[in-house]
Symmetry: C2
Subunit: 237 residues, 2 copies
DNA sequence: AGCGCACTACGTACACTGTACGTAACTAGG
DNA sequence: CCTAGTTACGTACAGTGTACGTAGTGCGCT
């Protein structure tokens, strides 16, 4: 009977209700929503067990009835935003469908700028992740490739979406808790960068900075990156 | 005179020594090395200001003379591992050179499994990051593309390397602080996954799992992903 | 019907975190 | 020389995740 808890657990395996005992006052969705609300409004660092419990209107330790570890709260949050995906029936054009999925993911991440940071630390497939994977495979039906390759493609594409969007949102999320603005932060970093480049230690980097390439269009870069990755899988090319 | 500190700062702009006052007992390299040592041995979560100070052999608050915020300590750590890159003169074959760089990055991350997690939270270019970028541009010299495109390529490639390696190291780093083993953790996750797939809610995913694709070779997947990304930039194809 | 057990709820407590602030010693520039 | 800017570091505070104990609740079983 000793040490029964020393075993890993996936939160999605826990039944929301067992039958025995008083009925839970909150659902998993309630909890996830509360945590997401806090993260959206005050940043990811404000998501503490105490805050979430307060937002729900219950005692701190009551939360642990629903969520055995804080990490699981994170999983709940990611699953909740995963539910914001709005799947349409595959059109038959797998390329267009996958681009649509990628763009939708990016939009969701812009709505919840803390998502990329959470993704780096949480591994595992929540129900909505599985739904997303299934949908991607449906979109890729017309493509004649083994499933293993399709999975690799989805993984690669998601990785690109996450890293790109993470970069876009980097300073935005960072400066939440800082006493200065995003513009000030960026200004300082750019000043440091050009001072370094000006030392002459990085000649090619210097050339790259000189090259007048007009204003940086992050969205266009994103688009190009997606295109290139998809190209890599297109048997027609 | 009020609020003079309310300005963002890049640690690399701070001189290591100003001349005035007693000479510092430690160098930035000492501090970074101490932090890296702790992270390697006890995991990233063990890297606290107190631990690093103890490892150095000084009082906790003394650290703040060198490192204004903990985040800057992270930047020092990333820069330190960046120094482990062993650059060779470009061979003229940009594809081979870039593959070499990517593999080297992966090896370094395997040596320091906490690197991917740090990368997700720290933004900014340390001296060694600049050195790395410069080297990549040197390798790409034979390629006739605008610098902007080359930079996009380096960014995309690094993103892929990071996400892939992060996935490889995910459970390894996670289970450091857990009372169970990596194998137990993976077993539970796989069990959950197949139970979900078995419900029939994800038919295509089920097929994908059925498809007998032999043992999963992560390194080969990594290789293929790199190849595809590079293909996307190769004007010869 | 009613016993008992598994569950909910939650207050208290602990070890630990980052870091603001104050004080003492030290050293180079004016 | 002197003084302003450093280094060094102890104390203190607000905040964190969560182990543990206790009280109440209601389903399932006998």
């Amino acid at each position: 009977m000793a040490g029964r808890k020393a075993v890993p657990e996936v939160i999605w395996n826990r039944p929301e209700r067992t039958g025995r005992g008083p009925r839970p006052s909150y659902s998993r969705a309630d909890i996830a929503a509360a945590a997401v609300r806090i993260a959206d409004a005050q940043g990811l660092d404000a998501v503490s067990m105490r805050h979430v419990a307060a937002e729900l209107g219950c005692g701190t330790m009551s939360l642990y009835n629903y969520v055995p570890r804080k990490e699981d709260l994170y999983e709940l949050m990611l699953d909740a935003v995963g539910a914001e995906h709005n799947f349409e029936d595959p059109s038959g054009d797998w390329r267009a469908d996958m681009l649509r999925n990628a763009h939708q993911t990016r939009v969701i991440m812009h709505r919840h700028p803390w998502v990329p940071r959470l993704m780096a630390g949480v591994y595992g497939f929540s129900p909505n992740t599985l739904r997303y994977l299934e949908h991607c495979l449906a979109c890729l039906e017309p493509l004649d490739l083994p499933y293993s390759t399709k999975m690799e493609m989805v993984a690669l594409l998601n990785g690109v979406v996450t890293t790109y969007t993470a970069n876009e949102l980097a300073t935005a999320e960072r400066t939440r808790s800082m006493p200065w603005s995003e513009e000030e932060e960026n200004a300082v970093r750019i000043a440091y960068l050009s001072s370094q480049v000006a030392t002459g230690a990085y000649p090619r980097l210097a050339e790259a900075f000189m090259e007048d390439s007009g204003p940086i269009d992050l969205e266009a870069m994103f688009e190009r990156a997606l295109g290139r990755v998809l190209d890599g899988f297109d048997p027609k090319r």
